[in-house]
Amino acid sequence: MTPAVSVSKLTKKYGEIEAVRGIDFEVDTGETFGFLGPNGAGKSTTIKILCTLADPTSGTARVAGHNVVKERDTVRRNIGLVFQDTTLDSYLTGEQNLRFHAELYGMPKAAFAPRLRQVLEMVGLWDRRGGVVATYSGGMKRRLEIARGLMHAPRVLFLDEPTVGLDPQTRVSIWEYINDLKQREDITIFLTTHYMDEAENCDRIAIIDHGQIVALDTPEALKASVGKDRVQISTADDPAAIRALADEFGLEAGMHEGLVTFSVESGEHFVPRLFASLPVAIRSVSVSRPSLDDVFMSYTGKTIRDAEASAVDRNRMLATRFGRR
């Protein structure tokens, strides 16, 4: 069976900036595949290439079995796309937006009405279909975009940061719709996110940093590969604490999110020893099981928030150079 997405030695340069630096991966049909990384890591660029909106500088990408450069239209017929920013016409009603989409994709006329009802009921907007999109809330707009992306029954659905800018409650509900969708439709989902907790919903995750894939596996396997608990402490003298941790316990600690952070096999057993032996006063302690955040940290040497801070400038440079396409 041909993979839903297959990418080989893909690169993309914007002038001097290398947004994607030679990535390879495959996504199986029916899989939910997550692209995880900080803003500016190259996620959106990769998705643009896969959706035929940007040409790769080198390398190849195939989606639904078709080359994204040479068979652009065939790829477009087979994909649905939910962009990071809304791409709805807010002067039209929800139904008119979907009708526009259906006509543009040349959907058979007889299929329109039933499919409209199906996708709108799936995202809980059937009753609001006659409302002008400008009156929709942020969550409703995102749901409408998901419905629209599904309208022409694509084989691969791309979701670029499907929950960014939404409140936590709405984020949860968007994920309910996505998980529900996997039950109902025979579809491959490719998504990008920089929320670790959301990546857990994926069958497999690729961690991308500085335009390269640094790890690719199931969330469970990735977490198991880290295997350690993360301990974060706040102390009266952090540099002294870091030195003491190295001297007393042979641990390599660093500052992350303003806290002294390190990993140990069994956090809850280590904390009493820490209090007994650390010569620096401890103000607070937190111990956490390995999360994808730790996975990210163990592969990139920084937390995703640290990575974002450093990526912001790079991102801004890209944004100003290329505008909103």
Partner: protein, 302 residues
């Protein structure tokens, strides 16, 4: 094709059954019919948006009405000395102001492309499996339709400017308005292809629109002008629509041929008379060239 067979049956079921079975939708291979559907939906969207924006329709009429009635009436005392008796100054400027009534709407309708880019909707169109020309042509047709509609409202006011309601005259003017609207929209779309910010687009069009209008001979006859102004009027595409429209209006007034020739002179190139047909064909050709440039701009990918 088994999936296709089951699809209609699913659609008849109401409620849960219809929802649990996925409705198969086969997106067809690209064809001319598909392209035309895309043109049509882009066009219809422009009309829907115009319908929901009545304020725009009203405001776009304010300026030509000001020109025709306020400026026209105000200047008519002064200008009437130069006009044969029975010819009103309003009648003289009516064709030019009619062109103006579509000028703004046509060029500004292209702003919706810049708008769509800012609000992301352009991306929805760009990723669809359709040829880019369908989107550009649909936009131009939409803008042209809306602008012509604007012109029709103004056409209804012909009597107030002492222009006779003759069916042939109105149809001629309508055809010329349609042509003008399409060319102007194509011009706007061509500019919108490159411009990313709405403010920049508005500023640029403002800068372009007024010279286009003033150089078109909308407010004065084209003969006996100083050389520099003669050259500039001959470069302005609007001239090639205003002159035929004025020609049509004056041929429907009972005037001596001499008076008609003085007030509504044909366009000349260094003494050579440009026929009305050629003049309109040039406008159409300009529209086609600008449309082609706009399409080429939209074909580019990152």
């Amino acid at each position: 094709m088994a999936a296709q067979d089951t699809a209609p049956r699913d659609t008849l079921d109401v409620g849960e059954q219809a929802l649990t079975d996925m409705i198969r939708v086969a997106v067809p291979e690209r064809s001319l019919r598909h392209d035309l559907r895309a043109v049509s939906i882009v066009w219809r969207r422009e009309l829907i948006r115009f319908r929901s924006d009545r304020l725009r329709a009203v405001t776009a009429l304010v300026q030509p009405i000001l020109f025709l009635f306020v400026l026209g009436t105000g200047l008519s005392r002064l200008a009437s000395r130069g006009l044969p008796s029975g010819v009103h100054f309003e009648t003289f400027i009516y064709p030019g102001v009619l062109a103006m009534s579509v000028l703004f709407t046509a060029i500004f309708s292209a702003a919706s492309i810049v708008w769509d880019r800012e609000f992301g909707f352009l991306a929805e169109m760009m990723v669809a499996p359709v040829r880019r020309w369908t989107i550009v042509v649909g936009k131009c047709l939409g803008g042209a339709t809306v602008a012509t509609f604007q012109g029709i409202i103004f056409l209804a006011l012909a009597g107030v400017a002492h222009v006779p309601y003759s069916a042939t005259l109105l149809l001629t003017l309508l055809g010329e308005l349609l042509l003008l609207s399409f060319t102007l929209t194509a011009f706007g779309v061509m500019m919108a292809a490159r411009i990313k910010q709405i403010q920049a687009f508005m500023a640029l069009t403002q800068m372009v629109v007024m010279p286009l209008f003033f150089l078109s001979g909308a407010l004065y006859p084209l003969n006996g002008l100083p050389t520099w102004l003669t050259v500039l009027t001959r470069v302005d595409p609007l001239t090639y629509v205003v002159a035929p429209m004025r020609h049509a209006v004056f041929s429907h007034l009972s005037l001596s041929p001499l008076a008609a020739r003085v007030l509504s002179p044909s366009i000349t190139w260094d003494g050579w008379l440009v026929p009305v047909g050629l003049s309109l064909a040039m406008v159409a050709a300009m529209g086609a060239v600008m449309l082609a440039i706009a399409i080429a701009e939209f074909r580019k990918t990152e």
